[in-house]
Every structure is written in structure tokens, then in C-alpha cells.
């Protein structure tokens, strides 16, 4: 204890001194030095002091403990507070995080919901669109049908008008015949005047001829395109003359109507045939002439010209009428466009345009307001032979051809072969479609001639198959059915020409020339 007390060097005063003494004594004893025994009072003092020291040290220790304890408690306390704070902060933070997350989730949910709605809307719109689309298609189909019907109706109406005009003209042509013959036969004295009789009879004859022409006009309209079946070519000048005489009642009447005269002149040169249906060409020219008449309410001149062009024949219808403005010129070929108000169907020129196109030609329009209009139609030459199908015209001599004939009728095929040899051609035979195709793959033929009615593969199918393999191959179809059937039905695609049996030498020659010309 003393050692411990000695180390507290701050112990003050006497005690300190006593301690030093004791220490010294202790040390001396140890070293064996003699020392004075300390004063008994000192020893009492020392004991007192030591006790006091003892109590002091207890006190210090106690205080120390207290201080330590308080400090520790303080530390712990603060520690706890800090921890509590931190925990609270953490909790707050966590709560905020959760709130934010919840909010974000909510946002996402909303967005998702909106997206879903949008998708739904889009889907609905799509359905609606496709519904509208199919309705539009339907309507388009209906409109096209209606257009076809309207065009048909206009045609019928035009035909009806023509027919009633024809009836009127026919009656007019008959009138002098009926009247004069009645006069000559029933009224006494008339027959005696020879000169008059002659005049009357001449009028009768002319009227009878007029009546015939009227009937011819009628026939043209109901026969339509079917008449010139096999070789669609037109002798231009002939058709021009026909159109002029066809329209004569109109431009002749016009002369008397307004007191104005319409002259129709023709300046026709020698031109070759064109590849166009004669009745179609006639309808075209008739249309143009009548338009010209309408354009000349005060009279004028219509000139029709034909001449050789660079790639074909040019036919002109030239009038001295009112002409067309730029705006009218742009639209005049449009269907349903008319400058004639209710009277006009607007279909005349568009039909003209369609016909000329079908004939492989083009139209030029030269017009000036106040001076007149000129329609120039360019038509390509007809390269397939003679325009006169009734005449026994000899087509250009053809080179020797190598021909494949297909027919299930052996005898008929043999007869055809004889004709071919007579014309200087060589022939391969096939008795049905399959054999024909086999031979066709291997051989090179200028022409394939096939019967129409055959078992297994008929002529139509065979032709289509051949054209699929070689679209340039010339195919002639032979048919035993009457001319009416051929005339009415359309030429099947794949067939360049149809001829009917029995086949004659000249018919065969013409047909071969036509497809290889």
C-alpha cells in the first residue's frame, strides 16, 4: 500500500514528507543502513495519514467510479440517442422510399393502363378501317358496275334514237314508191304522159335504193362487231364514204333548218387497209361527223381526208365550226363530259377514243375557238393480209412453213395434211393435247393448228399451255361449230385466229398468211 501511495506524487505536505521518509527508511533498511526509528508521533501521523490516505483513495476511487460510471452512462445514453435517431432516420428514409416506390408503381400502373387502352383503341380503329375498306371496295365495284350500265344504257339510247330515225327515214323512202305507183296505176291519164311516167319511175327506183341503204344502216347497229369476225381490217376510204352517207340525213337537214348549208367534202388518197374493225371505224367517223355538225349551227364545211402517214394511215375530220377552248380540249375525251347540256351523254368522244386505241391508233386534236376543229386519227397498217374477205384475193405467197396439227379425228387430220402439202408446207401430227405438247417441246413450229373439241385436253387449254411455254408461238384454232358460235364467243386467249371447218384451200392459205404475215 505504501508503494501505491508513494507513487501518488501529488499527495501534498506532511503526508508527502512522511512518505518520503518512510520510503527512504524502507530503502535504507533494505540496504542495511541504520536508521533512526521514526518518531512515534510520526508513526501515529503516518497511520493517521495513511488512514486518511486510505479514505482519500477510497474517495478518489469512489469518485472515480462515479465519474466513470456517469461518463459511461452518459456515453451509453448518447449512444442510445444516436442509435435511436439513426433508427428513426432510417425508418423515415425507408418510409419515404416506400412511398416513392409506391408512387412509381402507381405511375407505371397508370401508364400501363393507358397503353392498354390505346392498344384497344388502335385495334378498334383497325377493325373499323378494314371494315370501311371492304365497304369501299364494294362501293367501287358497284360504281364500276353502274358505270358499265350507264355506258350500256347510253349505247342503247343511241341505238334507240338511231332506230327511230331509221324508221322515219324508211317511211320517207317508201312514200314516193307507194304514192307514185298508186298514181300510175289508179289515176287515169297519168300513164299516157310518157315523160312524166319515166320521171316518176326514176324516183321510185331511187327511193327503193334509199330504203335499202336505210336497212343497211340498221343492220350495222345490231350486228355490231360480230360481222367482221376473222380478219379485222378496214378499207378506210370505203368506210369514210359509208360514214358520210350514214350521217347524210343529219347534215342535209341541218342545211334546211337554219337556212345554213353544211357541205361535206372528201379528199381521199389511195391508202392501204388498217387493222381496225370496219364497223368500229365507221362508228368513230360517224361520231366525229355528227359532232362537227353540232359545232356548225350556222353552217360550214366538213372535210374528210385520208392519206398515208409514216406508220400507218391518217384519217382527218376537219370542220369550220366553233372550235374548242383550251379547257374543253383538255376534257373532251373524258367520259360523261359534254358541252351539250342535257342533250349530250358525254360518251361519244370517249367511245371514239376507246375504239381508236383498240385499233392500235392515236388521235390528235387541232382546234381553235372560232375557226374550227380537226380530228386526226392515226391508224397502223394492217399487216395480216387482204381487207376484202369476200373476194378470193390471193395473199402474198408465203414461205414453206413447218406446222404442227392437232386433231383427234384422223381422217380430218389427213385431209388437212394433204392441203398443207399442196401449199408447200411440212406437217407434224398429234392426236391429242398431251402428244402435241411433247412434240412442241422438242420441235420448232411456225404455226400450231389445233382442233377445238378434243377429249382430255381441249383446244382452248392446249393453246393456253402452248402460249405459256412460248408466248410468241402462232396458234390457229379449228372448229366444227357454226359461224354463229365463233362470232359470238370471244377468241380464247392463246389463239391468234379461229377458222371453221370444213377447211378450204384458200381459207387455209389466208389463215396461215394472216398469222405469219
Amino acid at each position: 500500500m505504501i508503494t501505491i501511495g508513494a507513487s501518488i506524487s501529488i499527495v501534498p505536505g506532511r503526508l508527502g514528507h512522511t512518505i518520503d521518509l518512510l520510503t527512504y527508511n524502507n530503502a535504507a533498511v533494505r540496504r542495511g543502513i541504520d536508521v533512526k526509528p521514526t518518531d512515534p508521533i510520526s508513526i501515529q501521523n503516518i497511520t493517521k495519514e495513511v488512514n486518511r490516505l486510505r479514505w482519500m483513495s477510497f474517495g478518489v476511487v469512489a469518485v472515480g467510479f462515479v465519474v466513470l460510471y456517469t461518463t459511461l452512462v452518459g456515453i451509453v445514453w448518447r449512444g442510445r440517442k444516436t442509435i435511436l435517431n439513426q433508427r428513426r432516420e432510417l425508418e423515415d428514409f425507408n418510409a419515404e422510399l416506400e412511398t416513392r416506390v409506391a408512387a412509381r408503381i402507381e405511375e407505371i400502373r397508370e401508364t400501363n393502363f393507358r397503353l392498354q387502352s390505346e392498344i384497344q383503341e388502335r385495334r378498334q380503329a383497325e377493325t373499323e378501317l378494314s371494315r370501311i375498306n371492304s365497304r369501299l371496295e364494294e362501293t367501287l365495284g358497284e360504281l364500276q358496275e353502274t358505270q358499265r350500265q350507264v355506258v350500256q344504257q347510253a349505247r342503247m339510247q343511241a341505238m334507240g334514237e338511231m332506230a327511230s330515225g331509221v324508221a322515219h327515214d324508211f317511211n320517207n323512202a317508201l312514200a314516193p314508191i307507194v304514192a307514185y305507183t298508186d298514181l300510175l296505176l289508179e289515176i287515169p291519164g297519168v300513164l299516157d304522159k310518157k315523160e312524166q311516167v319515166t320521171t316518176y319511175l326514176e324516183t321510185v327506183r331511187t327511193s327503193a335504193q334509199d330504203a335499202t341503204n336505210v336497212v343497211k344502216r340498221l343492220r350495222e347497229f345490231y350486228r355490231g362487231n360480230e360481222s367482221e369476225e376473222v380478219l379485222s381490217t378496214a378499207s378506210v376510204n370505203q368506210v369514210v364514204q359509208e360514214a358520210v352517207s350514214l350521217t347524210q340525213p343529219r347534215w342535209k337537214n341541218q342545211a334546211l333548218a337554219a337556212g345554213a348549208e353544211i357541205n361535206v367534202e372528201t379528199e381521199l388518197e389511195e391508202v392501204p387497209a388498217v387493222a381496225m374493225n370496219p364497223s368500229e371505224l365507221r362508228e368513230v367517223l360517224t361520231n366525229l361527223i355528227l359532232n362537227a355538225v353540232d359545232a356548225m349551227p350556222n353552217g360550214g364545211t366538213i372535210t374528210l381526208r385520208s392519206r398515208l402517214g409514216s406508220h400507218g394511215v391518217e384519217v382527218e375530220v376537219d370542220d369550220t365550226g366553233t372550235g374548242m377552248s383550251e379547257e374543253v380540249l383538255q376534257r373532251c375525251l373524258d367520259p360523261f363530259f359534254t358541252t351539250k347540256g342535257d342533250r349530250g351523254s358525254g360518251l361519244g368522244l370517249s367511245m371514239v377514243f376507246g375504239s381508236v386505241q383498240r385499233g392500235g391508233g392515236t388521235i390528235d386534236i387541232d382546234t381553235e375557238e372560232g375557226s374550227g376543229t380537226k380530228f386526226v386519227i392515226h391508224l397502223p397498217f394492217d399487216t395480216t393480209g387482204d381487207a376484202e374477205t369476200e373476194e378470193i384475193g390471193l395473199p402474198a405467197p408465203s414461205r414453206p412453213l413447218h406446222v404442227l396439227t392437232v386433231d383427234d379425228d384422223k381422217l380430218g387430220q389427213q385431209a388437212l395434211s394433204e392441203l398443207m402439202f399442196a401449199l408447200g408446207h411440212t406437217v407434224d401430227l398429234a392426236s391429242d393435247g398431251r402428244e402435241a405438247l411433247e412434240k412442241f417441246q422438242v420441235g420448232a413450229y411456225d404455226v400450231v393448228m389445233t382442233d377445238r373439241a378434243m377429249p382430255n385436253m381441249n383446244g382452248d387449254q392446249l393453246s393456253a399451255a402452248i402460249k405459256e411455254r412460248d408466248s410468241g408461238q402462232r396458234v390457229i384454232m379449228m372448229t366444227g361449230f357454226g359461224p354463229i358460235m365463233e362470232g359470238n364467243s370471244e377468241k380464247p386467249s392463246g389463239v391468234d385466229l379461229i377458222i371453221s371447218k370444213p377447211i378450204t384451200l384458200s381459207g387455209l392459205r389466208e389463215a396461215l398468211a394472216a398469222v405469219t404475215g
Binding site: 327511230s164 324508221a167 322515219h168 317511211n171 320517207n172 317508201l174 312514200a175 314516193p176 314508191i177 307507194v178 304514192a179 307514185y180 298508186d182 298514181l183 289508179e186 289515176i187 291519164g189 297519168v190 312524166q196 316518176y200 324516183t203 331511187t206 327511193s207 337537214n253 334546211l256 333548218a257 337554219a258
Partner: protein
């Protein structure tokens, strides 16, 4: 002499009817080629009878007929319609200011002569 007006746009018809009328010396003929001329000649030449085609240019036959029948200057002219248009309505239109007779084309010569005799009996 009774004056007959022949109004038709077809010159052959005009000639035919004239020739028929000419076989009877009682009649003389004047001609017109359109409705306007027909009315003018009717007013100026005062014919006794008119053969009137329906299909006249400028003014059609029906209008000319009405005109003649409505006007006191011309309502005594006999009107005979000549028509090649055989329509049902032709008959119906004989009511008001209508013609005195209708003859359809083609007609016999005798029809022309007889109708004239019939309508112009009183000279």
C-alpha cells in the same frame, strides 16, 4: 283554183305530193321546207289546205298546226298532217287546235286526192 300548201323538209316528198296534186287541174301548189316558212306562206298566200309534215325543222308540225288554228287569219285553212312517226300520242293530240286529218306515210296517191276532195268539198 284551190291553193294547196305542201310543207315538208324532204324534197322528194314535196315533189311526190306536188305531182299527185298536179293530176287534178283544180289545184295549184305552193311549197315550204320548214315550219317558219310554212307559217309565213300560210299567212301571205292564204292557201285553202296545207299538207303539213310533223318533223319540220325550225318550228315543228304540231306548233304550226296550233298556230294556224288559233289565229283567226288562218283558222279556216284545212290542215292535213303527214307523218312518218307512228306514235300512239299522235292520235291523242287531235283534240285541241288539232288538224282536220292525219295521213300516215307512206301514203297512197289516192289518199292525198281523196282527202282534198273531202275537205274542200265546198270549194
Amino acid at each position: 283554183m284551190l291553193k294547196i300548201l305542201v310543207a315538208d323538209d324532204d324534197s322528194v316528198i314535196r315533189q311526190t305530193v306536188s305531182d299527185i296534186i298536179a293530176t287534178n287541174s283544180r289545184y295549184e301548189v305552193v311549197l315550204a321546207a320548214d315550219g317558219d316558212e310554212a307559217q309565213r306562206v300560210a299567212l301571205l298566200d292564204s292557201p285553202d289546205l296545207i299538207f303539213l309534215d310533223l318533223n319540220l325543222p325550225k318550228i315543228d308540225g304540231w306548233s304550226v298546226c296550233r298556230f294556224l288554228k288559233m289565229s283567226s287569219a288562218t283558222d279556216q285553212i284545212k290542215v292535213v298532217i303527214l307523218t312518218g312517226l307512228v306514235q300512239g300520242s299522235v292520235r291523242e293530240r287531235t283534240l285541241e287546235f288539232g288538224p282536220d286529218a292525219i295521213i300516215e306515210k307512206p301514203f297512197l296517191a289516192r289518199q292525198i286526192l281523196e282527202i282534198m276532195d273531202q275537205l274542200l268539198v265546198d270549194g
